[in-house]
Symmetry: C2
Subunit: 308 residues, 2 copies
Amino acid sequence: MIDKLIERIKELNNPTVVGLDPREEIIPEFIRKESYRKYGRTLKGLANAYFKFNKMIIDEIYDLVPAVKPQISMYEELGPDGIDCFIKTIKYAKEKNLIVISDIKRGDIASTAKSYSRGHIGRVSVGGNEHKVFDADFVTINGYMGYDAISPYIENCKELDKGMFVLVKTSNPNSGDIQDLKTEEGRYVYEHMGELVSKWGEELIGKYGFSKIGAVVGATYKEQGKILREQNPNTFFLVPGYGAQGATAEDLKGCFNEDGLGALINSSRGIIAAYKKDEYKDRYSEEEFHKAAREAVIRMRQDLLRVL
Amino acid sequence: MIDKLIERIKELNNPTVVGLDPREEIIPEFIRKESYRKYGRTLKGLANAYFKFNKMIIDEIYDLVPAVKPQISMYEELGPDGIDCFIKTIKYAKEKNLIVISDIKRGDIASTAKSYSRGHIGRVSVGGNEHKVFDADFVTINGYMGYDAISPYIENCKELDKGMFVLVKTSNPNSGDIQDLKTEEGRYVYEHMGELVSKWGEELIGKYGFSKIGAVVGATYKEQGKILREQNPNTFFLVPGYGAQGATAEDLKGCFNEDGLGALINSSRGIIAAYKKDEYKDRYSEEEFHKAAREAVIRMRQDLLRVL
């Protein structure tokens, strides 16, 4: 799947992934109203609105970007209806030939990780019947618990050609609390994590030189991104932090190789809520939120290609 | 809620939490058969079997233990039906006056953490209507991303009297990959995490001297448990690793204070799948799996009290 991701990035000349992180406040009123009329101001009502919103976004961007990244928390907080919407979103995106990265950031002991992995990228057996439940292409994983918390996913990545991104240096303001601790050998915790990820991924390197086991590296930490890129030449980076979190195209240049490959840049609110921003508000109505998203994708691509 | 937890531990003289981690292979055949007859060998069929199983366990143990800890991965892998079963399990346990620790180990940037926190221990608003979705009493959280990944939960802990346990030193074999890195000041990463957890919890200390922000400390690492106990006197410990993961009562003694308080010991398979173990098999049939679980709880309590 890492090979397919790279091929799609090349075909579209666009290393962008669109984060599908819906929230009530960014869903246009006409979608909310219709859904609440049908299902009430219920969890199902909002989940249904999210799906409609996601579909309209996907329909406008699937020919421009290689991948989407739904963030499960926004769906999970709505309970079973939210999870149903999450699964339907993955399915719909895949039907449109988009690669799907489920942003789940799970991390647990091996026996528990097995359940997560089966559900999200593997298969679940019930009385011998096999079910694909979430069926994402990639997942994001937290590696604080070490190798055995990762190994079940590696199995599924191998057997079913899936992929994963392990948190290395995250984009948030306090990511340094633990990640920037300096160890006695003079390196930072995030460097150790980066090294572990490279080691875990060694046997899963595809034809373009990148492993199925990638890393999450925040665009908001420019220097660290550059260091990690040099230290981990076979690790593909999923890079959050561009746009709403403050990073610019210049900041994330160091996450790429000289040939312009090696990283996939995420933008969520900057794309899906573009219609609320001053630069778009005058030209797009709420009803045209998806058209604004399309323009935001095109402008993001131009911005990225400018520095690559 | 931390105060209530401590009161219940005292009342029952039992610092045990029962992990509700169902898996198809530990569900007795009579429960599976009935459920598959009704719903087929589907995700719903297995989720329904899990709920029946959990209910029968809860009915046998609610008068003996203060808390249960459902592990969400086993439910999540079944999709919306699994999440529905997870929520129903929490609700049923709370009706029986059990404190519920949702073992979710989430960890993400603030805006995302807000969604998780609202869903699991807070309230979700849809068009102004407030919904309690999961409504657990405690959650487990991964702190690798630092303070802002934790802060939304702290808000809910304060306002709604909930609690959380942050992963500090986990029970699994490779937990040392990151957690045991030694920093330049001569301490381990898990010690730094322990210190952060204490600091984050400073303002939420209840009447028994323990904060609403606790720590997960694996019983399988005896020495580390002792060190962490000394370094963090106001942090309550959730301690996995007893039983199936290999730790004995002696190993986890160091997680307690001299007065026998300060830790809650988890056992999952050792209790809920007791009927499959040699020591119970001769005396309990599959139909009596819940009676075997009751005996396992009583024996675990005796074993713990022996060393406290």
